[in-house]
Protein backbone atom coordinates (compact mmCIF):
# COMPACT_ATOMS: atom_id res chain seq x y z
CA UNK A 1 0.00 0.00 0.00
CA UNK A 2 0.97 3.66 -0.41
CA UNK A 3 0.38 6.76 1.70
CA UNK A 4 1.04 10.32 0.47
CA UNK A 5 3.31 11.92 3.07
CA UNK A 6 5.30 15.05 3.80
CA UNK A 7 8.09 13.48 5.86
CA UNK A 8 10.01 10.22 5.83
CA UNK A 9 8.69 9.23 9.22
CA UNK A 10 5.79 6.97 10.30
CA UNK A 11 4.86 9.50 12.98
CA UNK A 12 4.78 12.29 10.37
CA UNK A 13 1.45 13.45 8.98
CA UNK A 14 -0.48 12.29 5.95
CA UNK A 15 -0.11 14.78 3.09
CA UNK A 16 -3.62 15.41 1.76
CA UNK A 17 -2.22 16.24 -1.70
CA UNK A 18 -1.83 13.31 -4.07
CA UNK A 19 0.00 14.50 -7.21
CA UNK A 20 2.04 17.11 -5.34
CA UNK A 21 3.02 15.28 -2.15
CA UNK A 22 6.80 15.12 -1.63
CA UNK A 23 7.00 11.38 -0.86
CA UNK A 24 5.02 8.17 -0.89
CA UNK A 25 5.39 5.76 1.99
CA UNK A 26 5.18 2.26 0.53
CA UNK A 27 4.67 -0.78 2.74
CA UNK A 28 3.15 -4.21 3.12
CA UNK A 29 -0.05 -3.66 5.09
CA UNK A 30 0.62 -6.81 7.14
CA UNK A 31 3.81 -5.33 8.60
CA UNK A 32 3.91 -1.56 8.25
CA UNK A 33 6.82 -0.83 10.57
CA UNK A 34 8.94 -3.69 9.22
CA UNK A 35 8.45 -2.95 5.52
CA UNK A 36 7.95 0.84 5.28
CA UNK A 37 10.05 2.57 2.66
CA UNK A 38 9.85 6.13 1.32
CA UNK A 39 10.09 7.05 -2.32
CA UNK A 40 10.25 10.50 -3.90
CA UNK A 41 7.08 11.40 -5.76
CA UNK A 42 8.36 11.61 -9.37
CA UNK A 43 5.36 13.79 -10.29
CA UNK A 44 6.14 16.54 -7.77
CA UNK A 45 7.89 18.87 -10.22
CA UNK A 46 5.59 18.21 -13.21
CA UNK A 47 4.36 21.36 -14.93
CA UNK A 48 0.99 19.66 -15.35
CA UNK A 49 -0.71 16.31 -15.04
CA UNK A 50 0.95 15.58 -11.67
CA UNK A 51 -1.93 13.40 -10.49
CA UNK A 52 -1.72 11.30 -13.66
CA UNK A 53 2.03 10.83 -13.32
CA UNK A 54 1.73 9.93 -9.62
CA UNK A 55 -0.96 7.39 -10.52
CA UNK A 56 1.34 5.80 -13.11
CA UNK A 57 4.08 5.63 -10.47
CA UNK A 58 1.82 3.74 -8.07
CA UNK A 59 0.92 1.34 -10.89
CA UNK A 60 4.62 0.64 -11.53
CA UNK A 61 5.09 0.06 -7.80
CA UNK A 62 2.23 -2.51 -7.87
CA UNK A 63 0.32 -0.63 -5.20
CA UNK A 64 -3.16 -1.98 -4.42
CA UNK A 65 -4.32 0.40 -1.67
CA UNK A 66 -3.76 4.17 -1.51
CA UNK A 67 -4.30 6.54 1.41
CA UNK A 68 -4.31 10.25 0.55
CA UNK A 69 -6.50 13.34 1.04
CA UNK A 70 -8.46 13.51 -2.18
CA UNK A 71 -8.03 12.75 -5.89
CA UNK A 72 -8.71 15.13 -8.76
CA UNK A 73 -10.70 13.89 -11.79
CA UNK A 74 -7.66 12.82 -13.85
CA UNK A 75 -5.87 11.15 -10.93
CA UNK A 76 -9.05 9.27 -10.01
CA UNK A 77 -9.33 7.92 -13.56
CA UNK A 78 -5.74 6.61 -13.48
CA UNK A 79 -6.02 5.17 -9.98
CA UNK A 80 -9.29 3.40 -10.79
CA UNK A 81 -7.94 2.05 -14.11
CA UNK A 82 -4.93 0.78 -12.22
CA UNK A 83 -7.18 -1.19 -9.87
CA UNK A 84 -6.04 0.70 -6.78
CA UNK A 85 -8.53 1.17 -3.93
CA UNK A 86 -8.18 4.73 -2.64
CA UNK A 87 -9.09 5.95 0.86
CA UNK A 88 -9.26 9.42 2.32
CA UNK A 89 -7.41 10.41 5.50
CA UNK A 90 -7.28 13.90 7.02
CA UNK A 91 -3.96 15.76 7.01
CA UNK A 92 -4.08 15.81 10.82
CA UNK A 93 -3.55 12.03 11.03
CA UNK A 94 -0.11 10.45 11.34
CA UNK A 95 0.90 7.92 8.72
CA UNK A 96 0.77 5.04 11.20
CA UNK A 97 -2.65 6.15 12.50
CA UNK A 98 -3.97 6.32 8.95
CA UNK A 99 -2.87 2.77 8.14
CA UNK A 100 -4.42 1.49 11.41
CA UNK A 101 -7.64 3.37 10.65
CA UNK A 102 -7.71 1.81 7.19
CA UNK A 103 -7.15 -1.68 8.70
CA UNK A 104 -10.14 -1.24 11.01
CA UNK A 105 -12.28 -0.02 8.10
CA UNK A 106 -12.85 3.49 9.40
CA UNK A 107 -11.33 5.44 6.46
CA UNK A 108 -13.87 6.44 3.80
CA UNK A 109 -13.23 5.15 0.26
CA UNK A 110 -12.60 7.79 -2.43
CA UNK A 111 -15.20 7.14 -5.09
CA UNK A 112 -15.72 10.64 -6.51
CA UNK A 113 -13.25 13.19 -7.78
CA UNK A 114 -12.37 16.18 -5.65
CA UNK A 115 -11.41 19.52 -7.08
CA UNK A 116 -8.81 19.60 -9.86
CA UNK A 117 -5.51 21.34 -9.02
CA UNK A 118 -6.32 21.19 -5.29
CA UNK A 119 -2.70 20.30 -4.46
CA UNK A 120 -1.13 23.30 -6.20
CA UNK A 121 -0.24 25.20 -3.07
Amino acid sequence: MAVSVGKKDLSGLVDDRFGRCPYFMLCDSEDVEGTAEWKDNPALASTGGAGIAAGEFLDREKVKVLITGSLGPNALRVVQASGVSAFSAPGSMTVLESVRAWATGTLPAITAAGQAHAGER
Binding site: S46, I52, G55, A81
Partner: protein
Protein backbone atom coordinates in the same frame (compact mmCIF):
# COMPACT_ATOMS: atom_id res chain seq x y z
CA UNK B 1 4.84 48.32 -40.81
CA UNK B 2 3.85 46.00 -37.96
CA UNK B 3 2.85 47.60 -34.66
CA UNK B 4 2.43 45.24 -31.69
CA UNK B 5 0.27 46.76 -28.96
CA UNK B 6 0.88 45.16 -25.59
CA UNK B 7 1.02 45.87 -21.87
CA UNK B 8 2.11 43.94 -18.87
CA UNK B 9 -0.98 44.77 -16.85
CA UNK B 10 -4.47 43.98 -18.11
CA UNK B 11 -7.04 46.74 -18.46
CA UNK B 12 -4.60 49.52 -19.31
CA UNK B 13 -6.20 50.21 -22.69
CA UNK B 14 -4.49 47.95 -25.23
CA UNK B 15 -7.65 47.43 -27.22
CA UNK B 16 -8.61 51.11 -27.05
CA UNK B 17 -5.19 52.07 -28.42
CA UNK B 18 -5.01 49.27 -31.00
CA UNK B 19 -8.54 49.79 -32.35
CA UNK B 20 -8.30 53.57 -32.62
CA UNK B 21 -4.78 53.48 -34.02
CA UNK B 22 -5.90 50.95 -36.65
CA UNK B 23 -8.89 53.14 -37.57
CA UNK B 24 -6.62 56.14 -37.85
CA UNK B 25 -4.14 54.24 -40.03
CA UNK B 26 -7.00 53.02 -42.24
CA UNK B 27 -7.59 56.62 -43.28
CA UNK B 28 -4.14 56.85 -44.86
CA UNK B 29 -2.82 53.31 -45.38
CA UNK B 30 -4.00 49.83 -46.34
CA UNK B 31 -4.36 48.51 -42.81
CA UNK B 32 -5.38 45.42 -40.91
CA UNK B 33 -6.29 45.04 -37.23
CA UNK B 34 -5.47 41.63 -35.71
CA UNK B 35 -6.85 40.62 -32.30
CA UNK B 36 -4.33 38.19 -30.83
CA UNK B 37 -5.88 38.31 -27.36
CA UNK B 38 -7.61 35.02 -28.17
CA UNK B 39 -8.64 34.26 -24.58
CA UNK B 40 -10.85 37.31 -24.56
CA UNK B 41 -10.83 39.08 -27.90
CA UNK B 42 -12.83 42.31 -27.68
CA UNK B 43 -11.67 44.51 -30.56
CA UNK B 44 -14.61 43.35 -32.69
CA UNK B 45 -17.00 44.84 -30.10
CA UNK B 46 -15.77 48.28 -31.15
CA UNK B 47 -15.10 47.62 -34.83
CA UNK B 48 -18.27 45.58 -35.53
CA UNK B 49 -16.82 44.19 -38.76
CA UNK B 50 -18.94 42.25 -41.20
CA UNK B 51 -17.48 38.74 -40.83
CA UNK B 52 -16.75 37.18 -44.24
CA UNK B 53 -14.77 34.14 -43.24
CA UNK B 54 -14.75 31.79 -40.26
CA UNK B 55 -12.21 28.96 -40.00
CA UNK B 56 -11.93 26.34 -37.27
CA UNK B 57 -8.53 25.83 -35.60
CA UNK B 58 -8.03 22.15 -34.88
CA UNK B 59 -5.65 20.50 -32.44
CA UNK B 60 -4.45 16.93 -32.76
CA UNK B 61 -4.75 14.41 -29.94
CA UNK B 62 -3.93 10.70 -29.86
CA UNK B 63 -6.25 7.74 -29.95
CA UNK B 64 -4.68 4.38 -29.15
CA UNK B 65 -5.69 1.57 -31.52
CA UNK B 66 -5.71 -2.19 -30.88
CA UNK B 67 -2.26 -2.42 -32.48
CA UNK B 68 -0.93 -1.21 -29.09
CA UNK B 69 1.52 -3.64 -27.47
CA UNK B 70 1.64 -1.72 -24.14
CA UNK B 71 5.35 -1.00 -24.63
CA UNK B 72 4.89 2.28 -22.69
CA UNK B 73 7.02 4.44 -25.00
CA UNK B 74 4.21 6.91 -25.75
CA UNK B 75 3.35 7.75 -22.16
CA UNK B 76 7.05 7.95 -21.29
CA UNK B 77 7.64 10.42 -24.14
CA UNK B 78 4.69 12.68 -23.34
CA UNK B 79 5.91 15.84 -21.55
CA UNK B 80 2.38 16.83 -20.59
CA UNK B 81 1.13 13.57 -19.02
CA UNK B 82 -1.64 13.40 -21.60
CA UNK B 83 -1.04 9.65 -21.79
CA UNK B 84 -0.91 7.24 -18.86
CA UNK B 85 -0.20 3.56 -19.06
CA UNK B 86 -1.65 1.55 -16.21
CA UNK B 87 -2.71 -2.02 -15.84
CA UNK B 88 -2.79 -3.19 -19.44
CA UNK B 89 -4.21 -0.06 -20.99
CA UNK B 90 -3.21 3.40 -22.14
CA UNK B 91 -5.43 6.24 -20.95
CA UNK B 92 -5.67 9.45 -22.99
CA UNK B 93 -6.31 12.90 -21.48
CA UNK B 94 -7.06 15.08 -24.54
CA UNK B 95 -7.32 18.32 -22.54
CA UNK B 96 -3.68 17.97 -21.44
CA UNK B 97 -2.46 17.24 -24.99
CA UNK B 98 -0.51 20.00 -26.74
CA UNK B 99 -0.84 18.28 -30.13
CA UNK B 100 2.92 17.91 -30.57
CA UNK B 101 2.67 14.46 -32.18
CA UNK B 102 5.60 12.95 -30.25
CA UNK B 103 3.54 9.90 -29.23
CA UNK B 104 2.86 8.98 -32.85
CA UNK B 105 6.54 9.42 -33.72
CA UNK B 106 7.83 7.17 -30.93
CA UNK B 107 5.23 4.44 -31.46
CA UNK B 108 6.88 1.64 -33.43
CA UNK B 109 3.62 -0.22 -33.97
CA UNK B 110 1.54 2.45 -35.70
CA UNK B 111 -0.91 2.27 -32.82
CA UNK B 112 -1.27 6.03 -32.29
CA UNK B 113 -4.01 7.51 -34.44
CA UNK B 114 -4.12 11.30 -34.54
CA UNK B 115 -7.58 12.76 -34.12
CA UNK B 116 -8.61 16.41 -34.32
CA UNK B 117 -10.65 18.42 -31.90
CA UNK B 118 -11.76 22.04 -32.38
CA UNK B 119 -9.59 24.37 -30.28
CA UNK B 120 -10.81 27.71 -31.55
CA UNK B 121 -11.75 29.91 -34.49
CA UNK B 122 -10.25 32.55 -36.73
CA UNK B 123 -12.71 35.18 -37.98
CA UNK B 124 -12.02 37.68 -40.73
CA UNK B 125 -14.10 40.64 -41.76
CA UNK B 126 -14.07 44.29 -42.75
CA UNK B 127 -14.89 47.58 -41.08
CA UNK B 128 -14.98 49.87 -44.09
CA UNK B 129 -11.58 49.35 -45.70
CA UNK B 130 -9.96 48.13 -42.47
CA UNK B 131 -9.45 44.38 -42.49
CA UNK B 132 -10.20 42.87 -39.07
CA UNK B 133 -9.09 39.40 -37.95
CA UNK B 134 -9.57 37.81 -34.55
CA UNK B 135 -8.68 34.51 -32.95
CA UNK B 136 -11.12 32.96 -30.48
CA UNK B 137 -10.05 30.24 -28.05
CA UNK B 138 -12.91 27.90 -27.16
CA UNK B 139 -14.23 28.31 -23.65
CA UNK B 140 -12.55 25.91 -21.23
CA UNK B 141 -9.44 25.42 -23.39
CA UNK B 142 -6.03 26.45 -22.07
CA UNK B 143 -3.80 26.40 -25.16
CA UNK B 144 -3.85 29.83 -26.76
CA UNK B 145 -0.71 29.60 -28.91
CA UNK B 146 -2.09 27.36 -31.72
CA UNK B 147 -4.97 29.83 -32.21
CA UNK B 148 -2.50 32.74 -32.24
CA UNK B 149 -0.40 30.92 -34.83
CA UNK B 150 -3.52 30.33 -36.93
CA UNK B 151 -4.27 34.09 -36.91
CA UNK B 152 -0.69 34.81 -37.95
CA UNK B 153 -0.74 32.21 -40.65
CA UNK B 154 -4.03 33.48 -42.09
CA UNK B 155 -3.41 37.20 -41.83
CA UNK B 156 0.34 37.69 -42.01
CA UNK B 157 2.24 34.75 -43.44
CA UNK B 158 0.32 33.79 -46.52
CA UNK B 159 -1.06 37.24 -47.12
CA UNK B 160 -0.28 38.56 -50.57
CA UNK B 161 -2.81 41.33 -50.25
CA UNK B 162 -0.13 43.93 -49.60
CA UNK B 163 -1.16 45.45 -46.28
CA UNK B 164 0.99 48.47 -45.50
CA UNK B 165 0.19 48.47 -41.79
CA UNK B 166 -0.65 45.68 -39.36
CA UNK B 167 -1.82 46.60 -35.86
CA UNK B 168 -1.53 43.53 -33.60
CA UNK B 169 -3.61 43.72 -30.40
CA UNK B 170 -1.62 41.40 -28.12
CA UNK B 171 -2.68 39.62 -24.90
CA UNK B 172 -1.75 41.01 -21.48
CA UNK B 173 1.07 39.55 -19.41
CA UNK B 174 4.43 38.28 -20.64
CA UNK B 175 3.74 34.63 -21.43
CA UNK B 176 4.21 32.53 -24.59
CA UNK B 177 0.99 34.02 -25.97
CA UNK B 178 2.46 37.53 -25.82
CA UNK B 179 5.74 36.46 -27.40
CA UNK B 180 4.01 34.71 -30.29
CA UNK B 181 1.80 37.76 -30.85
CA UNK B 182 4.42 40.51 -30.69
CA UNK B 183 7.47 38.92 -32.31
CA UNK B 184 8.63 40.39 -35.63
CA UNK B 185 6.94 43.74 -34.90
CA UNK B 186 8.65 46.88 -36.19
CA UNK B 187 7.60 48.58 -32.98
CA UNK B 188 6.11 47.38 -29.70
CA UNK B 189 3.73 49.94 -28.23
CA UNK B 190 3.53 49.41 -24.48
CA UNK B 191 0.27 50.74 -23.10
CA UNK B 192 0.36 51.58 -19.41
CA UNK B 193 -1.40 53.61 -16.74
CA UNK B 194 -0.01 55.85 -14.00
CA UNK B 195 -0.40 53.40 -11.11
CA UNK B 196 2.19 51.42 -9.14
CA UNK B 197 0.73 48.23 -10.62
CA UNK B 198 0.87 49.70 -14.14
CA UNK B 199 4.54 50.63 -13.68
CA UNK B 200 5.43 47.26 -12.14
CA UNK B 201 4.02 45.33 -15.09
CA UNK B 202 5.36 47.86 -17.62
CA UNK B 203 8.86 47.03 -16.36
CA UNK B 204 8.21 43.34 -17.05
CA UNK B 205 6.93 44.14 -20.56
CA UNK B 206 10.01 46.29 -21.22
CA UNK B 207 12.28 43.41 -20.21
CA UNK B 208 10.36 41.15 -22.58
CA UNK B 209 10.61 43.44 -25.64
CA UNK B 210 14.27 44.12 -24.91
CA UNK B 211 14.91 40.39 -24.75
CA UNK B 212 13.15 40.03 -28.11
CA UNK B 213 15.22 42.91 -29.51
CA UNK B 214 12.13 44.95 -30.43
CA UNK B 215 12.10 48.70 -30.81
CA UNK B 216 9.56 50.02 -28.33
CA UNK B 217 7.71 53.06 -27.04
CA UNK B 218 5.12 53.81 -24.36
CA UNK B 219 1.54 55.04 -24.62
CA UNK B 220 0.41 56.46 -21.29
CA UNK B 221 -3.33 55.95 -20.85
CA UNK B 222 -5.55 57.47 -18.14
CA UNK B 223 -2.89 60.17 -17.86
CA UNK B 224 -3.41 62.29 -14.73
CA UNK B 225 -0.34 64.43 -15.36
CA UNK B 226 1.72 62.63 -12.72
CA UNK B 227 5.44 61.95 -13.07
CA UNK B 228 5.42 58.20 -12.27
CA UNK B 229 5.55 56.80 -15.82
CA UNK B 230 7.27 59.87 -17.34
CA UNK B 231 10.19 59.61 -14.89
CA UNK B 232 10.56 55.88 -15.57
CA UNK B 233 10.55 56.43 -19.36
CA UNK B 234 13.08 59.26 -18.98
CA UNK B 235 15.40 57.18 -16.81
CA UNK B 236 15.18 54.17 -19.13
CA UNK B 237 15.38 56.25 -22.30
CA UNK B 238 12.08 54.90 -23.65
CA UNK B 239 10.14 57.32 -25.89
CA UNK B 240 6.69 58.36 -24.65
CA UNK B 241 4.77 58.13 -27.92
CA UNK B 242 1.40 59.46 -26.71
CA UNK B 243 -0.54 60.32 -23.57
CA UNK B 244 -4.31 59.79 -23.42
CA UNK B 245 -5.92 61.85 -20.66
CA UNK B 246 -7.94 60.43 -17.78
CA UNK B 247 -11.26 61.67 -19.11
CA UNK B 248 -14.87 60.84 -18.27
CA UNK B 249 -15.89 61.38 -21.91
CA UNK B 250 -13.48 58.64 -23.05
CA UNK B 251 -14.86 56.27 -20.43
CA UNK B 252 -18.44 56.98 -21.58
CA UNK B 253 -17.61 56.46 -25.26
CA UNK B 254 -15.78 53.22 -24.42
CA UNK B 255 -18.68 51.94 -22.34
CA UNK B 256 -21.00 52.41 -25.34
CA UNK B 257 -18.64 50.31 -27.46
CA UNK B 258 -17.79 53.24 -29.76
CA UNK B 259 -14.40 54.25 -31.19
CA UNK B 260 -12.84 57.39 -29.72
CA UNK B 261 -12.18 58.92 -33.13
CA UNK B 262 -15.73 60.33 -33.19
CA UNK B 263 -14.46 63.10 -30.91
CA UNK B 264 -12.13 65.37 -32.90
CA UNK B 265 -9.75 65.79 -29.93
CA UNK B 266 -8.99 62.07 -29.87
CA UNK B 267 -9.01 61.79 -33.65
CA UNK B 268 -6.18 64.35 -33.63
CA UNK B 269 -4.36 62.52 -30.83
CA UNK B 270 -4.40 59.20 -32.74
CA UNK B 271 -3.56 60.88 -36.07
CA UNK B 272 -0.52 62.45 -34.37
CA UNK B 273 0.53 59.04 -33.02
CA UNK B 274 0.04 57.48 -36.46
CA UNK B 275 2.08 60.17 -38.21
CA UNK B 276 4.82 59.89 -35.61
CA UNK B 277 5.01 56.13 -36.18
CA UNK B 278 5.17 56.60 -39.95
CA UNK B 279 7.96 59.18 -39.54
CA UNK B 280 10.02 57.44 -36.89
CA UNK B 281 9.69 53.68 -37.28
CA UNK B 282 12.06 52.12 -39.77
CA UNK B 283 10.30 49.19 -41.40
CA UNK B 284 12.23 45.95 -41.58
CA UNK B 285 12.13 44.27 -44.92
CA UNK B 286 10.60 40.86 -44.33
CA UNK B 287 11.39 38.22 -46.87
CA UNK B 288 8.34 36.71 -48.52
Amino acid sequence: MRIGVLSGKGGTGKTTVAVNLALSFAQTHKTQYLDYDVEEPNGFLFLQPEVKEQVSVPLLYPEISDKCTLCGECSKACQYHALAQVSQKVLVFPELCHGCGTCSIVCRYGAVLERERPLGLVELGYHGNLRCVQGILREGEALAVPVIQAVRSRAEERSTEGFEVTVADCPPGSSCSVIHSVEASDLALLVTEPTAFGLHDLKIAVRLVRELGLRHGVVLNKDDGSRLIRDYCGAEDIPLMAAIPFDIGIAKTYSKGLPLLEDSRWAVLFADLRDKLVREVPVQKHED
